[in-house]
């Protein structure tokens, strides 16, 4: 066996994928959905129910949002888990790892339920 811990290897791969996705894509999403709506003449459809419902209804956009946000969440939960390790707050790494995977699963399921 060459790579002993396959779980951590795959987790790191998705962490890396999520990292580049989050780096390239999240800022514009945050701006369009959370920052621009604060301005009255904001050039974003997100303030309007009908337009948003229509846009998010498109299957390709749904798929894109689920993929991008899931990967970003994978990246983020991986980092949260390891910063807890670094800060010396963890006595049992195995339990924290399982808890972080459960949390990750819950967030992604919530995301999918909200979008699909």
């Amino acid at each position: 066996m060459v790579v002993r811990n396959r779980f951590e290897a795959i987790d790191w791969m998705l962490f890396g994928g999520g990292g580049i996705v989050a780096a390239l894509v999240l800022p514009i999403h945050i701006i369009a959905t959370n920052v621009l709506p604060a301005f009255t003449f904001a050039p974003t459809i997100f303030t309007q129910y009908q337009l948003t419902a229509a846009k998010v209804g498109e299957p390709l956009i749904k798929l894109y949002l689920i993929l991008v946000l899931s990967l970003s969440t994978w990246h983020a939960t991986h980092r949260v888990r390891f910063i807890l390790f670094d800060l010396g707050l963890v006595k049992h790494r195995g339990i924290v790892t399982q808890a972080s995977m459960v949390t990750l699963g819950a967030i992604i399921i919530f995301l999918i339920i909200a979008l699909v």
Partner: protein, 215 residues
């Protein structure tokens, strides 16, 4: 005047019991590592004029048990170094009459940087992961493992990856980058660790997609 000079002065003039390691006094043997003003340094290479403040605090290297004063117990590092087998591993031996292994300059360039490691352990002293988990393999052993994996004469990639991808292995590295910042020889162990992760992933994908191929 460097920090080592002041340690020598203290031992000769003020307190003969002060105990510290040193040898070459020119930054190549890796013996004189210590924490100076909170950061790992080689005391023989740290000029006093470059340090901030009127008081210079010298402590033993962090993350290692202390034997006496500035002398730390390096057994854990030695064990980890041995685990990654820092020598050329061959699967197929080459008879003497076939001559030596020829290695071109650009092949040597592949690993040259990582071969600069002097085993001074400043990187392990600076690593926040090693600080919270002494099982972690550490930057220096990983950098040296990569040095041999990248060496065209070596055939021991699988053995070394097997030693480094399990408990306390490379996956625990969070790319803090402290190791590269403190390394006195520009080895860039942080890069070595990330490259090892990528190499391991390649091996994993190969073993999943082409199981027959991995020997």
């Amino acid at each position: 005047m460097v920090v080592l000079d002041s340690l020598v002065y203290i031992k000769e003039q003020l307190d003969g019991s002060l105990t510290y390691r040193w040898s070459c006094r020119m930054g190549i043997c890796g013996s004189c590592g210590a924490t100076v003003n909170g950061t790992p340094h080689l005391t023989c290479e740290t000029l006093l004029k470059d340090l901030k403040g009127p008081i210079v605090t010298v402590e033993p290297l962090y993350n290692f048990p202390v034997i006496k004063d500035l002398v730390v117990d390096i057994d854990d590092f030695m064990k980890k170094l041995q685990n990654i087998k820092p020598w050329i591993i061959r699967k197929t031996e080459r008879p003497l009459k076939e001559g030596e292994f020829i290695q071109k300059p650009d092949e040597m360039d592949l690993y040259r940087q990582f071969s600069s490691c002097i085993n001074c352990m400043l990187c392990l002293a600076a690593c926040p992961v090693y600080a919270s988990d002494r099982q972690f393999v550490g930057p220096a052993p990983a950098a040296l493992a990569l040095r041999y994996i990248l060496d065209t004469r070596d055939q021991g990639k699988e053995i070394r990856l097997d030693a480094m991808t399990g408990e306390g292995g490379i996956w625990d590295c969070t790319f803090a980058g402290n190791c590269t910042v403190v390394c006195p020889k520009n080895v860039d162990p942080a890069a070595a660790l990330q490259r090892l992760k990528v190499i391991s992933l390649n091996e994993l994908v190969k073993s999943i997609l082409m199981p027959g191929l991995t020997k």
